[in-house]
């Protein structure tokens, strides 16, 4: 028996093709759309950090430098596939009926930010590391149980792949041949712990092999490669042909969250090199060289993204705080009568506390 992990890439840092594009991605409209979505994600992300710095939202995990992953797999998913994300997935969520206002509300301390008006089945952002991978396995089991041609995609960071829940999810995905795709954002850092300290594995993707499922490595700064590899894995899942693990290799150009200061542990030279590899610049070069992308197009795109973000921020800032009763009213389908007195107390003091 031979085990191998394939590495996938189509576009290098110079914006040149490293191999011929397969037909499914040799498409200007698609490439342009992926670029636009990455630029929008970065515009949103950069605004979110500013909102945190000015006290308008709470602690926020940025996705800077990792946009190709969520945008790429998000575009590869069908509307009726189901996403079970972690917390650097805005590029996908924004394509799936989750609004910028939802995401800002969530990090702004409001549970209503996980009650997506535009999506009924996707799971909310998951903070306890890798726990969501098991929910995804359960969702995939339900889909398989009903015989539906749908796929489930779950994400995590490379640090999360040290968790038992990840291994348990990979194992059951293999044992039950679940229609499930794991996308790992290997951004080299789990807060301050570097990737090489995290595991003795040569690749993160090879953890799939132990579970009896496919493992792939993809250049996580190459949105075309992410889109292509994830598309194939999702299609395989939809056809009930089994699960996959995809390790997308990128770099966390930001701090872990706004509460972190990466300069305490991350070598500055490493960061400078990583900036040379980031996903948006290379695609802009590609578009400019091969797809007649002009500076005027770029200006128009930036302006459009800016306006979308500003509009969302305005809406978010104008959203009234949730009523105090909300903390009781969604705990159970029906509030136990034993809790009515506590609810009344909270409402009474809710009028005066602030």
């Amino acid at each position: 028996m031979q085990f191998a992990i394939r590495y996938h890439e189509f576009v290098n840092v110079e914006g040149e093709f490293t191999q011929d594009l397969p037909e499914m991605i040799n498409n200007r409209a698609l490439i342009l759309e992926l670029y636009q979505k990455m630029v929008l994600t970065r515009a949103f992300d950069s605004k979110a950090i500013k909102l945190q710095r000015t006290g308008k939202i709470g602690t926020y995990p940025s996705t800077l430098g990792q946009e190709a992953i969520s945008v790429g797999y998000g575009k590869a998913m069908r509307t009726d596939d189901i996403l079970v994300p972690y917390y650097r997935d805005y590029g996908a969520q924004l394509q799936r009926g989750v609004s910028m206002v939802d995401i800002l509300s969530y990090w702004g301390g409001d549970e209503r930010g996980s009650c997506y008006a535009g999506n009924t089945e996707d799971f909310p952002i998951s903070v306890p590391i890798a726990t969501q991978n098991l929910h995804a396995a359960g969702v995939a089991k339900a889909v398989q149980h009903r015989g539906e041609p749908r796929a489930v995609l779950t994400t995590l960071g490379e640090g999360g792949t040290s968790e038992g829940d990840f291994y348990e999810a990979v194992n059951v995905a293999g044992a039950w041949q679940l229609p499930l795709v794991f996308v790992i954002n290997n951004n080299q850092w789990a807060i301050s712990v570097a990737r090489d300290v995290q595991t003795g594995c040569e690749t993160i993707a090879q953890k799939a092999i132990a579970g009896g499922i496919d493992g792939h490595q993809v250049n996580g700064n190459d949105v075309l490669a992410v889109y292509y590899v994830v598309s194939q894995a999702l299609e395989k899942a939809r056809q009930n042909q089994g699960a996959s693990v995809i390790e997308a290799i990128t770099y966390r150009l930001c701090d872990h969250t706004t509460a972190d200061d990466a300069s305490r542990y991350r070598p500055d030279t490493e960061l400078q090199i990583a900036w040379q590899n980031e996903p948006i610049t290379r695609l802009k070069k590609l578009l400019t060289k091969h797809y007649q992308w002009k500076e005027s197009d770029e200006d128009a795109l930036q302006q459009d993204c800016y306006q979308q973000v500003e509009h969302a921020v305005k809406q978010y800032l104008a959203t009234p705080r949730a009523p105090v009763s909300d903390m009781f009213d969604y705990l159970y389908a029906n509030l136990p009568k034993q809790m009515e007195a506590q609810r009344e107390t909270a409402l009474y003091y809710g009028e005066t506390d602030d």
């Binding site: 079970v84 009650c115 038992g164 194992n171």
Partner: protein, 324 residues
Amino acid sequence: MTNITMVEAVTKALAYAMEHDPDVVIFGEDVAKNGGVFRATQSLFERFGSKRVLDTPLAESMIAGLAIGMAAQGLKPVAEFQFMGFIYPAFDQIISHAARLRNRTRGRLTCPLVFRAPFGGGIHAPEHHSESTEALFAHIPGLKVVIPSSPARAYGLLLAAIADPDPVIFLEPKRIYRLVKQQIIDDGSALPLEQCFVLREGKDVSLISWGAALHETLQAAERLESQGVAAEVIDVATIKPLDFDTILTSVSKTGRCVIIHEATQTCGVGAEIAALLAEHGLYYLQAPIMRVTGYDTVMPYYQLEQHYIPSVTRIIDAVTNVLE
């Protein structure tokens, strides 16, 4: 009408639910062909097939996580943890997700599931098989915690738990799985959650208990009767949410209260009941509230377990104490 044990009542309730709701699925370790190590899922695999009765890989956090994902998709998972002593790897999933999913998505996703687990001592089981840690779950907002103590209540409460739209921890006192048989009508009638059951009426003292300890409590009540003491016995059954009204009504009548549970004393559910009585029933009380519980020790391995589990004598002594 059939005359059956408590574990058979569990099986009957599962079968009824599966028969009448195609969304009910059962899974866990050894629950399929083997029918569960206590045979609680006996014959369900043969009857309902491998699509609805599944053996899982051996991983408890995974069992809980799978159930959450399936429940969010509209299935009604009834997952078995082989012993409560092995439920702890699933704690994160139960507390961080099952208990919170409805709240944190403001009702967009929900968790209509049941986690079953045999628990408690008294069957000479290996180490780690005999603890009673129900209070850990009773502490968690968003969960319901139900403990049957007879075949009829196991049947009715399990059906209610499966029908409930929220996550229910259903703990089965394995010491009494086959202790007594009882006539039950297998007609799918559920018993209410959120309600205590008054098993015996009396005017002199309220004995509040649940699970296997109820059997010693009832024996104590019998003996006390021969000594001229009329004890009221209440099976709490659902420890969260707690039907305190029934307990208060009883104590307001008797003026005396002894709480009996097998679990360790400190921060046990008995402490919560005593605190509620102190808050709301102080002026009814003619004697201090007493607790007869497992000690604040590690549940001993089986040679000493009978010295840990509350005995009839200890219960009678406590009652004698509050009557003095």
